[in-house]
Amino acid sequence: MGLDYKWVFWNTHKKAYDRLIVSGMVIYLVLFFTISFLTNPEIIAETVIIRAFGSLAIIMLHIILAIGPLTRLNTKFLPVLYNRRHLGVSMFLAALIHGIFAIIHFHALGNVNPIYSLFTSNMDYGSLTNFPFQVLGFFALLILFVMASTSHDFFLHNLSAKTWKRLHMMVYLAYALVILHVFLGAFQQETSVFTTATLFLGWLTLVSLHLVAAFKESKVDRFVAEKNTEGWHKVCPPEEIEESRAKIFTVKGERVAIFKYDGKLSAIHNVCKHQGGPLGEGKIVDGCVTCPWHGYQYLPHNGQSPPPFTEKVKTYALKIEKGMVYINPKAFPEGTAIPPISSS
């Protein structure tokens, strides 16, 4: 990881997107309040707060879930990925306000503990359309809380990238819970073709994006290269790789990034140690492979982050035979130095 890169690129982006997130949220809320009170002057503030923040949270959740596949389908969306976590934390805050107001409004006026009341005021757990939908919202909020509070890199390092990723895949469960929360809750009380159709279209969009991206990726994963007599895989002619950029190549279902820089070629594992970003979609900045997601850096010849950082990725041996680049499919342990080969 490089301090300079982080400071220059990543911080300016970060601030600009943060401003965009906050102003987007404020504009939405102001519009929601204005329209609600204009169209229904009798409506009470609490109801509008519950609805404004609930709908804001679900819209943000859709945006967050669309970012991943969009970046895999088109790298133009990469800058948005920098701030997905901030978007996630802001979405959690909106959902929290919605949940707190709903609990106060619907449960705090009785004579039992509001959380207890949330679980017991409707006990029709066996029914579908009468299901206690607020419980679904509660569990979704709980998941979002765990994700928001572990979103900092501190937890990423302490939980290991794998556990963290697994934890954050719970967002899909939260999404399903929220959809059911709305279908079994708000839609039962106030039937509207418009909102039902909107959420259905949201589902359709997310599912299409994710499945198109997933099938595109699994095609790449299944790629089987031609091999030479020693079992090395044939990649491409060296001219095909752009200077300071990489070609991403699949060996045995894993992806490798083959970088060209200063007349040399080096190959490292394609997966960033930070959050699994695709290193081969980044470029060489100041002699280091720079992850396109958040700017972690690695030296191309040994896969190590320049000191004081300690991240390491696997490296691979390359050679040129009859004008073709070949790669040894057997990876070297993380951080093993491999002399770069000449690209000509």
């Binding site: 619907f106 449960h107 006026l109 004579n111 005021s121 279908f183 039962q188 499945l211």
Partner: protein, 120 residues
């Protein structure tokens, strides 16, 4: 992402693609999208209700005068219990009441007055 994670993501989304629309459909299949909140029958009482098991249906026929009307359960001793929800205008509402509830109160939330007291 490593190949295993990509696979996990793929299967999760196939799951969401198959299961969620099924649940969405089941949730809305019995809803009436045409006549929601359009009932114009103006009875004498502003609200009428029907009770089946633990499910209480309240029909608001003429708009209520209070801006915020809250529905409460009535305990067997006649005291006000859990809040069930809110009536916002004409339309039909459905609430789930706790077993042993004797009736309901409809309260004006702002003036804090009792509007109706209905015993089952």
């Amino acid at each position: 992402m490593i190949a295993g994670q990509r696979k996990a993501h793929k299967y999760i989304w196939i799951g969401i693609a198959v299961v969620l629309p099924l649940l969405m459909f089941l949730a809305i299949k019995d809803l009436d999208f045409t006549s929601a909140r359009t009932s114009d029958a103006s009875g004498e009482l502003p609200v009428s209700f029907s009770l089946s098991g633990q499910s209480l249906k309240i029909q608001v026929d003429t708009p209520l005068k209070s801006t915020a009307s809250l529905v409460y359960e009535m305990y067997t001793d006649g005291s006000r219990g859990n809040i069930l929800g809110q009536l916002e205008g004409r339309g039909s509402y459905e609430f789930l009441i706790s077993p042993g509830t004797k009736g309901i109160y409809i309260m004006d939330a702002i003036k804090k007055e009792e509007l109706f007291k209905i015993e089952f």
